[in-house]
């Protein structure tokens, strides 16, 4: 029989073991590591693979895996006559800037990656991209949308390539849609004078991303000389669960439209609490990262008639030249991983192809040469529609330019959820935008 001391030791050891085992299960960092082999290209995938944002992070990793496997199945990447296989290495940023710095440092100094793809969360990427800059490693950023990432001046950003719309880009697309489609319907129904400004209330998270959404809206209004005014802008803590007080203050400012700078786990309670608790009969706008099955489940009927900006979504796929490739990607992803790929997954999938193309064009793994080829890249659009039909990076801040579409959520009784319907631009729309009966403009 075990003595009490032995039992105590056993139980403690068991706890330590279980803790260690379960802790490690979610913390794997590397698919290989070790010495660099000459017949492989090492791509570091920078994503939150554990922690609060790990759903998106794992989605990015899975999408990258799909791309790498497709390229490898076709023989790999032709680097100056030598066919090289792609090897992906995980860099788990754990949704935390400090962990991001550690992960990117490890990818560069220990795993000796040739190029980085990914980077989710503007705050985390703002911190970890510094390491890439210092080591002059090309970084194709596919999941951080704040424009400060590539436009900052405190570090050398010449190795950063932003293959993800910036907050400026999607704020502009969203507000141009409001101006062209939503505004006329509101003014017509309520007999408002045409010179009256559209009043916007913004609730944004206290992060680089949230601040980017706010400044993106300001910039879009100014740049396009839109007859709009931001009548209230309230900040909330990232990951907050209660938005009622923020929304009450917004409601008191009497806006026509609410534009939240919120991600998936924030947007649906924000809309629910705004519509149900605060009684806001306003139209809620939503940023592209929320075009996700979890959002449609989470927001329920409260999301009915709300407006979703998108470039790649799970349900509505616009009839564009990339339609077939986008559908194939979605089907392949679902068949392999059992779920829909997210928007960040789509751009990360493309990011791996972009990296492969740039290395092939360079004919070497030399980082400066690869950087130069990324700068000069002219690659046909792939699964997401791009301006001019090509993936290329702008001369100023090395940002690729996506084509957006706007969706309106409509309640589907049989599914018990809303589903998006494309309402803009005109050549892609599946239905007209509808101003709901319950809508009330601000004052």
């Amino acid at each position: 029989m075990l003595s009490k001391l032995d039992r105590r030791f056993f139980l403690t050891a068991l706890c330590v073991f279980v803790l260690f085992f379960l802790g490690c299960t979610q913390q794997s960092t590397d698919t290989g590591g070790g010495a660099v082999e000459r017949n492989e290209i090492k791509i570091g995938i920078v994503a939150p693979l554990t922690g609060g944002m790990s759903t998106t992070g794992n989605d990015m990793w899975q999408a990258a895996t799909l791309a790498a496997d497709e390229i490898n199945a076709q023989g790999g990447v032709n680097v100056n006559g030598v066919m090289m296989q792609i090897k992906l290495v995980k860099g788990d940023v754990q949704s935390d800037p400090q962990e991001g710095v550690k992960a990117v440092t490890k990818l560069i100094t220990e795993d000796n990656v040739d190029i980085l793809v990914g980077g989710f969360s503007s705050g985390t990427t703002y911190a970890d991209s510094v390491v890439a800059s210092e080591n002059k490693v090309p970084f194709i950023i596919t999941g951080a949308s704040s424009s400060v990432i590539t436009r900052r001046t405190d570090i050398d950003t010449s190795y950063f390539f932003h293959h993800c719309p910036t907050t400026d880009d999607y704020a502009e697309a969203t507000l141009l849609f409001v101006d062209a489609v939503v505004k006329p319907l509101i003014y017509q129904r309520f007999n408002l004078p045409s010179n009256r400004k559209i009043l916007i209330g913004i609730a944004y998270e206290d992060s680089k991303f949230g601040e980017g959404v706010y400044s993106g809206a300001q910039n879009a209004i100014e740049r396009n000389n839109l007859n709009m005014e931001i009548v209230a802008a309230e900040k909330f803590k990232t990951g907050e669960t209660a938005y009622q007080t923020v929304l009450t203050v917004l409601k008191d400012a009497k806006p026509d439209i609410i534009y939240p700078g919120a991600v998936l786990n924030e947007q649906s309670p924000l809309v629910l609490q705004g519509r149900r608790d605060v009684g806001m009969n306003s139209l809620f706008l939503s940023i592209e990262c929320n075009d996700d099955p979890d959002y449609y489940t989470g927001v329920g009927k409260w999301g009915d008639y709300s407006i979703q900006e998108s470039r790649f979504g799970p349900y509505a796929v616009p009839d564009r030249p990339v339609y077939k490739a986008a559908m194939k990607f979605k089907d392949d992803f679902k068949a392999r991983f059992g779920s829909f790929p997210s928007m960040m997954g789509a751009s990360t999938y493309e990011g791996v192809y972009i990296a492969a193309q740039a290395i092939e064009n360079a004919g070497t793994l030399d980082k400066a040469a690869v950087r130069d080829e990324l700068d000069a890249l002219e690659m046909p659009e792939f699964i997401e529609a791009m301006e001019g039909g090509v993936i290329s990076f702008s001369d100023d801040y090395r940002e690729s330019k996506f084509l957006f579409y706007m969706e309106q959520l409509r309640w589907n009784e049989s599914l018990g959820e809303t589903r998006p319907v494309i309402v803009w631009p005109a050549h892609l729309k599946e239905a007209d935008f509808v101003l709901p009966d319950w809508y009330e403009p601000g004052q």
């Binding site: 907050e240 629910l272 149900r276």
Partner: protein, 312 residues
Amino acid sequence: MDLGSLVQITIWGLLAGCIYILLAIGLNLIFGVMKVVNFAHGELLMLSMYFTFFIHEFFDLNPYLVIPISVFLMAFVGILIERLGFRPIMGTGKLNEIFLSLGLIYLLQNAVALIWGTGSRTIRSPFEFDSISLGSRQIPLDYLIIIGITMVLLVLLQVFLKKTTLGRAMRATSQNREAAMLMGINVERMDMISFGLGSALAAAAGALWCISGINFNPYIGSAPAIKAFAVIIIGGLGSIQGAILAGLLLGLAENPLLVLLNALWTETANTLTFLNLPADISFLSWQNSVSFLILIIVLILRPQGLFGERGE
């Protein structure tokens, strides 16, 4: 801001306060009896959300009816944690207890992430679209039910602690463990019951909170747990009444007080223009800071907390 708005915001404050109170009282019970600070208390709240969600989904049960099941299950989980985790290390040093409870945070978070994934979940209440009119304002029925259930639970807890032999034994253990042992109370049994009861209260908090319509994931427990720690320090370690008062205080301070402060600041800046005060400052993002501001003020003025006794 009209009176209706203020009442509405006060109800939201009460709702937040209810969650803090249930969580803090559970922590207080465990600390009071065992003198153990369970840093993983927020993870018990999180675990109960998942239990509530999956029982509700699997059996298609009204989520309110799932609350007693989740509470019962979490009481059992709490007892297991006490028996397998804390009891073997009790008396071996406070550091061991602290590291065990810190380890439990990662263990429970990773276990839930591994089993159920990290995606957001939501529970749809059957009363989601029902509300009570308050002039021009609407109060969701769910909020009133949650406040009502919390009040019932607090009354039941008071009755249990003050009118039953077991409750008295727990209080006696909390007041003086050695004396309680000398009086024939099985203090190890009291430890087990207090951990089970504390976990059950965390379960009630988690179940009620997720029914209110929030999204949750495996990492949601940390923020409310920190607030619960603030509540028990403000209220006084080991004091149930203190936890109730402090929970309400925080809930109300984070909601109506901040809104009033915001309105007052804007009004002052717009009226007293010669002071050149920036009118666009917003205090709403101070929701978390305000808890700790109150904590600091209480600690300076009354270090033992509102209802605590000197020396505790």
